[in-house]
């Protein structure tokens, strides 16, 4: 099987508009969660959010793209894709090669324009600018057109695990020989649609989320995008290799439409498949970037699942305490953060943790720790409808 390497990364989230800014916040233990300024929702006053610190028009003017009907979801995607491409030094010819795939993910798509969509759906809008912008695939079509992509294009929606599945799909296309490169990741902007949905489910916290804390009381929604450039060993040449994609697993928990089973069936199966694919024993994993949403259900289930597989818990954190839950973008954002840990050989503290959950009594990483020996990292993402995914990356040898 061909080796698949990460040769470029791009990220925009509440803790920064590029990789350097995101890394700096993680090293300083500085969250991006706070009062939303750009978000148009009544809940902007009631709940904290992991909002990207740029207005939609600032995102647009930073990009210099001529296309019309661009939503915040699209602009976040463009920003992270552009950075990833620059970091991988991909030429225009390489980007628009038939052998370059683009696998993306989104759950809100253009529905971040909640009111505009309502008007268009009921034929009461004056403008037609956004009529082709609402679907979760709209950002991908715009990116495909802008970069003149000619390879396989796909968009995945498995709710909160979407972009981890996009990374998997891109890796598998390369391993099968159907592509030599893949641009993979996901994007989601904050919008009334998801905020009201999660609020209706009563899983939003009034305070910044407290992953793995006994007194956690829900998640904090965030927004952002992250993309990775994956390249086959045959074409990487002498490029800087950020990581190797070693293992991946996908399973359905088959328990409930919007919560995970107490037994952690899907969680365990996804992690097991990833370890098997990577041919690694659990003891080899140095750190887990957890899904860690800080809902009652998720954190207990994830700790149960990790215990079942690992026995002793490896170092773990939830970087959602920095960015909030960025939904379809979370798997890719957290994979980029995992790459930081591999590259820098350091671990970042999980924020807002005080009291461990019994009976697990597990403490996430609480301090910034440099000079660690980190070779293998696992990233987890679980979503509504039982969709569980797990990814393992390693230091390129």
């Amino acid at each position: 099987m061909k080796h698949v390497f990460v040769t470029g990364i791009g990220v925009i989230s509440a803790i920064g508009n590029n990789c350097e800014e995101n890394l700096s916040h993680l090293q300083k233990g500085k969250t991006g969660i706070g009062k939303a300024i750009h978000l148009d929702s009544n809940y902007a006053k009631l709940f904290p959010f992991g909002e990207v610190k740029l207005s939609t028009s600032a995102l647009k003017s930073n990009l210099n793209i001529a296309q019309k009907g661009l939503t915040r979801t699209d602009l976040l995607a463009f920003t992270a894709v552009q950075e990833a491409i620059q970091k991988a030094n991909l030429t225009a010819q390489e980007i628009s090669s038939e052998n370059t795939a683009f696998i993306s993910a989104s759950t809100i798509g253009g529905m971040c324009l909640t009111d505009q969509l309502y008007q268009d759906a009921n034929s009461i809008s004056k403008s037609k600018e956004y009529v082709k912008s609402y679907s979760v695939s709209a950002h991908a079509l715009k990116i495909a057109e802008n970069y003149q992509l000619k390879g396989t294009i796909d968009v995945i929606n498995t709710a909160c695990s979407s972009s981890l599945n996009a990374i998997m799909m891109g890796t598998r296309l390369i391993k099968s020989g159907r592509a030599t490169r893949a641009i993979v990741g996901g994007t989601d902007a904050l919008g009334k649609f998801t905020i009201n949905g999660f609020n209706a489910l009563q899983i939003l916290s009034k305070n910044p989320c407290k992953p793995f804390d006994k007194y956690r009381d829900g998640l904090t929604l965030g927004e952002g995008a992250a993309y990775l450039i994956l390249e086959s060993e045959e074409v990487v040449g002498k490029k800087n290799l950020y990581a190797e994609i070693l293992g991946y697993g996908n399973s359905n928990d088959a328990f409930h439409p919007s919560s995970l089973s107490e037994e952690a069936f899907g969680v365990v199966a996804a992690m097991n498949k990833a370890l098997k694919r990577a041919t690694l024993s659990p003891q080899k994993i140095n750190y887990i970037n957890t899904h860690g949403t800080a809902t009652e259900n998720n954190d207990t289930t994830e700790l149960t699942g990790i215990k079942k597989i690992f026995g002793n818990y490896p170092a773990f954190n939830s970087t959602k305490s920095y960015t909030g839950h960025t939904l379809a973008a979370s798997g890719a954002i957290e994979t980029v953060f995992s790459i930081f840990s591999l590259q820098q050989q350091e671990l970042y503290p999980s924020l807002n943790f005080e009291t461990p959950i019994s009976p697990f009594n597990q403490l996430p990483i609480l301090k910034y720790q440099q000079h660690q020996n980190i070779n293998y990292v696992m990233t987890n993402s679980f979503g509504f409808a039982g969709n569980c995914s797990s990814l393992i990356i390693g230091k390129p040898l």
Partner: protein, 346 residues
């Protein structure tokens, strides 16, 4: 990859099999709605009551296959928007109650991955589970994904399929982007209308696919996709696709083409057809309407042709005497997303 079985709910009587006894429904207007089966034996009543149409048709077509085949190693679905009407119902609540206290049912069900999740839940299937949502290539991605999984030996048999729902809401949005005919024609005249715009349909088509030939109905040889083609790309692309699969043009016995009566874009199908002599041509959007995953119906129809089923005359666009052992399916959505599927008899 081999196809072992299928179920299809569409604007034609495809689920109960009457389609093959010549019963073809004539549709009027711009929206063709599914002929839904009696779900009594398929879905428990308490679940059915809360299901939106996209969920109902997806479960209705998928569950019989999951019950019939004890080994299904994963569920791979494609849809452009899933339960979009539920999604707009939730939007309506947001706007009307000014983000007040809302009920989450519409929100949870309207996520496009809900159907694959409910299928997994109802059949306790903990295998691979994914939903592809790349608009007009969502279904093609499910086929590619399934082919990869079978090659990787991660699965022996899989459920793949597509679901699509139409409603007044996507009608309003797609109208604003000039998708629909301004002057409606009955389905019998759709392909000859020579005006801009088309009609929209809905439904679900589900398939059990396997890496093994045993008990197969037909073979799905390969699938390919491309977006934003230049002029003349179709001719080049089809040659490239057939060459990759060691299939000369002359070996194709039939074409299943996505003609939808939109005079802006149907020329693509003519361009492709011009390259083939002596091939039968089938059309199907005159029966079921267009939708981003209409190609799942094309696959279902192609399976039925290769199985030797009695095909209604309404789907013959051009008839030849040639025995049909291989089929090329070509479809595009709004002339932006294009795909080929190559099928063979077993």
């Amino acid at each position: 990859m081999y196809i072992l079985d299928h179920r299809c709910i569409s604007p034609q009587p495809t689920f109960n099999g009457c389609f093959f006894t010549g019963e073809v429904k004539i549709n009027h207007g711009n929206l063709y709605y599914s002929i839904e089966p009696d779900y009594t034996d398929l879905i428990p009543k308490n679940l059915l009551r809360r299901m939106e149409k996209a969920t109902r048709v997806g479960i209705g077509a998928g569950i019989p296959l999951l019950e019939k085949y004890p080994i299904i190693d994963g569920i791979i679905l494609g849809t452009s928007t899933g339960g979009f009407s539920g999604c707009v119902e939730f939007l309506k609540q947001i706007v009307q109650y000014n983000e007040g206290t809302l009920t989450p049912t519409n929100f949870v069900q309207s996520t496009p991955n809900a159907v694959a999740g409910i299928l997994a839940l109802m059949s306790k299937n903990r295998g691979y589970n994914i939903t592809h949502t790349n608009l007009g290539l969502s279904f093609e991605a499910t086929l590619l994904d399934a082919m990869l999984l079978l090659e990787e030996n991660e699965a022996k048999q899989l459920l793949v399929g597509a679901i699509e729902e139409t409603s007044e809401y996507n009608y309003n949005i797609d109208s604003a982007s000039d998708f629909f005919k301004e002057i409606a024609v009955p389905s019998t005249q759709l392909l000859q209308s020579n005006t801009k715009g088309s009609v929209r349909g809905e439904g679900a088509a589900m398939f059990v696919v396997s890496s093994k030939k045993d008990n197969a109905l037909c073979e799905l040889v390969d699938v390919a996709q491309f977006s934003f083609p230049q002029k003349n790309t179709i001719q080049e692309k089809v040659l490239q696709f057939l060459k990759k699969n060691n299939t000369p043009l002359a070996a194709i016995d039939a074409l299943v083409l996505g003609y939808n009566g939109d005079n802006r874009f149907d020329f693509r199908y003519d361009e492709l057809a011009e390259q083939f002599n002596d091939t039968s041509i089938f059309s199907y959007k005159n029966l079921i309407g267009d939708s981003p995953t209409a190609n799942s119906f094309a696959l279902w129809l192609s399976c039925s042709i290769l199985e030797g089923k009695e095909i209604p005359k309404e789907v013959y666009y051009k008839e030849t005497d040639k025995e049909i052992k291989s089929i090329l399916i070509y479809n595009h959505y709004n002339n932006i997303q294009h795909s080929f599927i190559l099928m063979r008899s077993v």
